[in-house]
Symmetry: C2
Subunit: 703 residues, 2 copies
């Protein structure tokens, strides 16, 4: 990461503004004005070749002329001058450039952008941008941007790929009462990218939650690795989910792998929570920045109204933290602070008679009770209570309980007085919302974070040298033939090299050879045409199953050959595959695609209608850990089939997990060679009895 | 409905407050105070036997003593006195009672509640409540409740089953800027229920959208009928979706029919939009009360920022109104008001340079363009524009376009200035939100309303006298045997009477009879044990399929009898069913359950894994129209199977629609007799070839 440079870039002790101006309306004017208005405590060096004084500050003709060291340079001069400025900054020893200037790759000038990065790299200077709003840090009173002001102070930090949105959200921090310490506009990501910033923010003592607005990642795999290692919660809003569309593709996997699904899987693997929209991003950032994770499933809801209690119960189920009955002891304690007609079950309904004391006592006890893993407190504005008093009682109870590891979220439903109480709670570190489902959703977010956080590390990957060598030989031969795909037999050789249990398949070039191989493989056998030009073997009449004896082999050999020639007279026919006939089992599919952002990506699903009609598949970016493989088995809708639905024995999920991991290793190890692949079908047998890959397909990467 | 009485109840010209008080803290005090504070223009008659003057108003000892007529009486006296008051009010000719008093069915005093309704009914008096907050109407300056004040004036009306929530939401109307004309607390619904109020509000000239908070309906079918007939949009938040749980049931249908699913289906049939949470209820109520329906699928999005534009595009897809490219002519026009690097496709990106004029021209043109069915305008706060000016430009454009039938929604993302602009737009009749997905979601709501609104009328139902008579005979026989279910043969007789195409099934009591019937039915046949005590026929070894000749019939007869006796020695065996063997087809299931709220309800799904593993089923409350039956076929996940997936011919959906309608008529016609039923499996053949009900089951209602 090179922390020192990033420290200089994001928390500079001195900053040069190249293009600083006395003319309002110019960006170089705004940046100086913003630094002054934000009360930046470091040194400000306006750089302007014409003026000696900029907005009351001594200006310098160029960075070289600046007397002291410069940590960061905010660059606002036209694009054509930026390279030269970068060169000067490099010579001066500037640690990082905040390149606000646009006119680079976003308008087709990728060349200029690359030159900028090359120039900076010569001196070890890091580049944020170009084409950004700038960078802001409340802790440092640093508004190195043309965004009107520093955000509402708080404990989260935001990285935004949209500058316009960053400006709007900056203002919105005040109205939505969600505070941020740093706002970083990331723009074209020519050098500093999401991964760099996540790594740096994870060590930043003023950041407790990392929030992202992502339009598209550049290096998806590095994003996953870095995020997975982070100890702080990360939440991302990914836009553009509908624009991408699935690329036209030759394989099942390619057609099923839209960007949305792969991003979703990647976020899971990265341990990054995914926001559904802007309000969701704000609401969940708030709770993640203020409260500890929820380390168990026992959610207790306290309420003064049945209506909001029922809505909270619904939400808890919807968000995956369904309410359980509170244990007897806890109920007995709760009963002490409610009228006879209250309920201590869960939600604990203190009734509309609940005042400050009942709220205080119940909250304090609930936070101290060992059964409770997380507490949601609801208040529905009544005529006989004062919302601010209730809020203060809750805060006092939180202080009295002094439980640093037990999260609490609040909902006040009501008018102005409730909103004021909500804002007060937030200012005092307690996330509070205007609807019960938001408070429950916030708590569910803390539960989700606890779970992803405890999930294992990044999957390890080691190249399998021997398998790789064998595979490359098979692939080289196919390429030498001018082919862009492997035959089934070749693909199975590759699969087999990586330990995938394929059905034994041998190539017969003549009827005699077919009979001999059939006897070696053992009856019954399956016979299939082998020709690079015939991909849809069944359609060509090129498949015979359950061939039971020598005579039928001969007959089938002749028929398949005849059919194949009739189907495609110019097809280059390698021969006929004689294949072990696997016993019936549950059909599953593995496949792979090369995602433009994340690289080799594995798909898993059940076969037949599950994949063809229901598109019931799931993805993981490689490498895939055993834990992730197991998650894949569980998250398809057809999961009960593998667990043994309809009175059948459970399928061999261990073997399937192992196979997914081997498959993942294979496509990653051969990522330069394999564009797409399918193992379809794989027949999975009952627990302990393994599985067989019946058909195999590999489409080569274009070279 | 009896409109005159409800007019008196909900828009009274004179109101008596029984239990009016001078003691602050008492509900009888609050109601008088609220009427005064709300500046109620009608006559107020405080009723109090002790005081002559209540809060400055002349008081009367009882309603009889009041000189003029009384439209409504707000009752706040203790429960034990309410009957007597109702009697007096009846005699006085009061049109409606607003019974705030609690202590009725909600605490087990159903008797008292029934007496109240009986008493009022003698005089034609309608009863709202008991156990309510009261009723409020801005138009009439009428706050006949103990809720602190009238809501923010607006064009929606809310009926709430939770009083506490009504009070909180009343206050929230001001902070959320969603205005209401009437707030009605419905409480125990002893007399006036949702259907009454929907019918009345649909004719109320000050209500443009009817919003509901529902905990549980009493008469579900009447709710559906009334809502279906309403011309105004209705939106409901239904709570308690998780609490209900599926009742233990003997049939597939019963176990799959949770309250959530049935309520969801009922809302669809009723044309009622369903809110997901409180904020969603507010957000969508706002748009439904201010804008016309969106009568086509062409949504145009205007924006000044790419980021919010992409988020809107994502939302449009998510909410089912995906963006299409704008036609060339429209694009050309849009291009006139943006810089070179803007985009006129859709979203139309005016870029961050967009000021008042561009917004004005683009909005005005878009609203006038015939391609555009709905317009969403986005604004992302920038440093160079003033949010309020943009808002006013949009309003001017809306006025200039003067298109009453074309809906518009707005999103401003930003800080205080944007929020103020948003509030101003709402005050001026244009729904505006703080995030792009909310503006798009609002527009999608208008699209949804247009669709449900154009959906056909309530399904018609006519009893089938002949079928009913035949069925009742079969059922009477079973009941006479002391049975609570029909045998397959009996159930098929009932199905058949209602025109369902069942496989021909005859009962053989001896081997000889079996052979004779098999020849009559035609080989091959299926043979099944018939015994009320053996429900799981296969488990008992009681089924043989594909029986092809006389000899096998004899053999099978003996074996099945032997197996059945071994399985259950005390079973009463009617004989063996000889059944036509239907050709293979696509398996579907129909079933029915008697929902506690909605009565006879039909379930439809595909058979096999679809129902057993995926629970892929859908429901409709009877009667079911052809349109609704067709919707059912389309809304299951396995729908592509019926349309002809995997290269197969489409299934006979016409036959299926007809069968669903017959099934629906059957269970409604026999609702007093049938508790649950299944037609499982039904084999559906390709288009034009019909279907066959292979197995049938009817469980009788307890008598």
């Amino acid at each position: 990461m090179n922390k020192d440079q990033l420290n200089g870039l994001l928390r500079p002790k001195s900053v040069a503004v190249v293009g600083a101006s006395n003319t309002p309306g110019k960006i170089g004017y705004s940046v100086i004005a913003n630094l002054l208005e934000g009360k930046y405590t470091g040194q400000i060096y306006p750089i302007n070749p014409k003026d000696d004084v900029i907005q009351g500050l001594k200006a310098y003709p160029d960075v070289a002329a600046v007397p002291g060291p410069i940590d960061a340079a905010v660059i606002t001069v036209p694009a054509k001058l930026v390279i030269e400025v970068a060169e000067e900054c490099g010579k001066k020893g500037v640690k990082g450039l905040i390149v606000i200037t646009s006119g680079f790759s976003e308008v087709g000038r990728k060349d200029l952008e690359e030159e900028l990065v090359r120039t900076a790299a010569k001196y070890g200077t890091r580049v944020l941008g170009p084409n950004i709003v700038g960078s802001l840090s409340n802790t440092d009173h640093f508004n190195g941007s043309f965004a009107p002001g520093l955000p509402l102070p708080g404990k989260a930090s935001l990285i935004s790929q949209s500058g316009a949105l960053l400006i709007a959200l900056d203002a919105a921090t005040y109205t939505r009462k969600v505070g941020f310490d740093k706002l970083i506009s990331i723009g074209n990501m020519s050098d500093v990218d999401f991964a760099d910033l996540i790594e740096w923010l994870d060590e930043d003592q003023d950041t407790y939650c990392i929030s992202l607005y992502i339009e598209g990642l550049k290096d998806g795999r590095r994003f996953i690795e870095t995020s997975r290692k982070a100890r702080k919660p990360i939440i991302a809003l990914k836009s553009g989910v509908s624009a991408h569309g699935a690329a036209a593709a030759a394989s099942h996997t390619g057609s099923l792998a839209g960007a949305t699904k792969v991003y979703g899987s990647a976020f899971k693997q990265a341990g990054v929570l995914q926001a559904t929209d802007l309000n969701d991003l704000f609401n969940r950032t708030l709770v993640l920045s203020l409260q500890p994770p929820m380390e168990g499933d026992n959610l207790l809801v306290l309420t003064n109204g049945g209506g909001v209690g029922v809505l909270a119960t619904d939400s808890a189920e919807k968000f995956g933290v369904p309410l359980k009955f509170a244990p007897a002891e806890l109920q007995a304690e709760m009963k002490k602070h409610m009228p006879e007609f209250g309920s201590a079950k869960n939600p604990v309904d203190l009734t509309g008679m609940a005042g400050n004391d009942w709220y205080f006592e119940s909250v304090r006890y609930a936070l101290s009770d060992k059964w409770v893993d997380g507490l949601v407190v609801l208040y529905c504005e009544t005529a006989i209570t004062v919302p601010m008093d209730i809020a203060q009682s809750i805060k006092r109870a939180v202080d009295a309980a002094d439980q640093k590891k037990k999260p609490i979220t609040i909902s006040f439903v009501g008018g102005e007085r409730s909103d004021a109480a909500t804002a007060w709670l937030v200012e005092n570190g307690i996330p509070a919302y205007n609807a019960p489902d938001l408070a429950v959703g916030a708590m569910a977010t803390l539960r989700e974070f606890a779970k992803v956080h405890s999930n294992g590390a990044v999957a390890k990957f080691v190249s399998n040298e021997k398998a790789r060598k064998a595979s490359l030989e098979v692939i080289a031969k196919a390429r030498a033939d001018g082919r862009n795909s492997l035959t089934e037999i070749e693909a199975k050789q590759v699969f087999s090299a990586y330990g995938l249990p394929v059905t034994s398949t041998r190539l017969a070039r003549s009827e005699e050879e077919a009979v001999r191989l059939a006897n070696e493989v053992g009856y019954p056998v399956v016979m299939k045409i082998v020709s690079p030009e015939i991909l849809h073997k069944s359609d060509a009449g090129g498949v015979k199953v359950n061939v039971k004896d020598d005579a039928t082999v001969r007959e089938a050999f002749a028929t398949i050959m005849k059919n194949a020639k009739a189907y495609n007279a110019s097809a280059n026919i390698h021969g006929i595959a004689i294949q072990e006939m696997a016993p019936a089992g549950t059909e599953v599919i593995l496949g792979s695609t090369t995602d433009p952002t994340f690289g080799p990506t594995v798909m898993f699903g059940l076969g037949g209608i599950f994949v063809e009609v229901l598109k019931d598949v799931t993805f993981r970016v490689t490498p895939v850990s055993d834990e992730q493989a197991l998650e894949m088995l569980g998250e398809i809708r057809g999961a009960p089939i593998l667990a043994g639905a309809r009175g059948e024995a459970p399928r061999d999920r261990k073997a399937l997990v192992k196979t997914i991991m081997s498959y993942s290793s294979m496509i990653l190890d051969l990522e330069d060679e394999i564009a797409e692949s399918d193992a379809n079908p794989i027949l999975v047998y009952e627990d302990g009895k393994g599985l067989k890959v019946v058909d195999a397909r590999i489409i080569l990467a274009k070279k």
